[in-house]
Point group: C2
Chain length 234, copies 2
């Protein structure tokens, strides 16, 4: 029985839908640490733990509370240095921080604009008002306008993944022969998008498909976080 | 007296202007290896070494010839494992390969379109015909058309650097506390652009400025590869 608990953002049907939570699910699997999950809606975040948190994921581990995916990943290496490291060297850690920023600017932000109404429609009813208000303020227009404008945004999103395609021509994972935190961050964003999106985010013939399949079927991560068809259509 | 020799692409006045050569200059400094340079124009590449090379840099080291910056960086670690490593772990190496692809797609390609006529005008006379013909084929129009269209391309180039700005808010170098191959690749692209560009590539108030100054004044790299003003205007 694990006393480790991951608080994660969930939809109305309990699907985990934060890109930041997904990377920590992979990171916990990487470190071979078991955990229980606790699904929370946006309106439940303020009730997690000491009541001071504003974002998920939050990890509770033997009485310690850690918020923020980067802080959690770093803490896991400090707390469990004898298990497989997420960041084996300071230079690896810095390179992962760059990839995190690249994903935020080029991938997560573009996925957000494409999927924002789809996310809304999957939330628990009590979370929808907050989500609509905060996201419409960020967008500068309604969720419905974003939805109506989403189709021309799909090609630029796919184009933005091109550095990944090029790197993955040479090694099976962004981490090289084995998956690493760069892979976990990238697939986490795609799982988040693929869980909610009501259109295929990727072309069925995308050369990323093999990597996506590898990441969704890692033995570490059984059961698969998402059927691969969710991302590619058929 | 070093028997190590770096063949580099040079302008009419002998300035080194390949982003791929600059990263190897930094890499050689990182490994504390001395070398002599040999400046070559495009039309001289076919005469380097065995006469089979099509690109620069080429490194000649005790009778061995190595072409291609990535191959050279990897070889330097193999040949000189007791000197500071460029890639200390396989995961670092893979992360650097991703950053290389990101730089190619988002930075080098954009700089090329902005600076292509400026590059042409700085080449040795015998290199200009080949450069014009091959680059116009790639562009699909004349160098002069690219030049006329360059100003609206500057803002997207600057925007593309945003993941670097975000990562550099947290550490002095992309490599963390110390510069690494990601820094060398990135500054190499900016030195190449800054050497030839006839407009300021970066805004004088760009938050990247401190990092640029650090990279151009690394004690390892004396004298400075480029005056910082070349990139920022005044």
């Amino acid at each position: 029985m694990s006393s480790r608990r991951l608080y994660e953002l969930v939809t109305d049907d309990g699907s985990s839908i934060s890109p930041y939570v997904w990377r920590i699910r992979y990171a916990l699997a990487h470190k071979r640490l078991d955990y229980k999950t606790c699904g929370v809606g946006f309106s439940g975040i303020a009730s997690v733990g000491p009541g001071t948190f504003k974002t998920l994921p939050v990890l509770e581990d033997q009485g310690r509370w850690i918020v923020d995916s980067w802080a959690i990943a770093s803490w896991l290496d400090e707390k469990y240095p004898d298990r497989p490291l997420i960041f084996a060297t300071p230079a690896e850690r810095s390179a992962m921080r760059f990839i995190e920023k690249w994903l935020l600017v080029e991938v997560v932000t573009k996925l957000f604009r494409i999927s924002v109404l789809d996310i809304h429609d999957r939330l628990r009813p009590e979370d929808r008002g907050y989500f609509r208000q905060s996201r419409e303020a960020r967008l500068g227009h309604s969720l419905e306008v974003a939805h109506d404008q989403r189709e021309p945004r799909v090609a630029p999103f796919r184009d933005a993944l091109h550095p990944m395609r090029m790197a993955l021509r040479e090694t099976p994972f962004l981490g090289g022969a084995e998956p690493g935190y760069g892979d976990y961050m990238a697939i986490g964003a795609l799982i988040w998008g693929g869980t909610v999106a009501t259109l295929p985010l990727l072309d069925p013939d995308d050369s990323l498909r093999e990597w996506v399949e590898r990441m969704l079927t890692l033995p570490l991560m059984e059961p698969a976080p998402l059927p691969v068809e969710r991302l590619f259509g058929r």
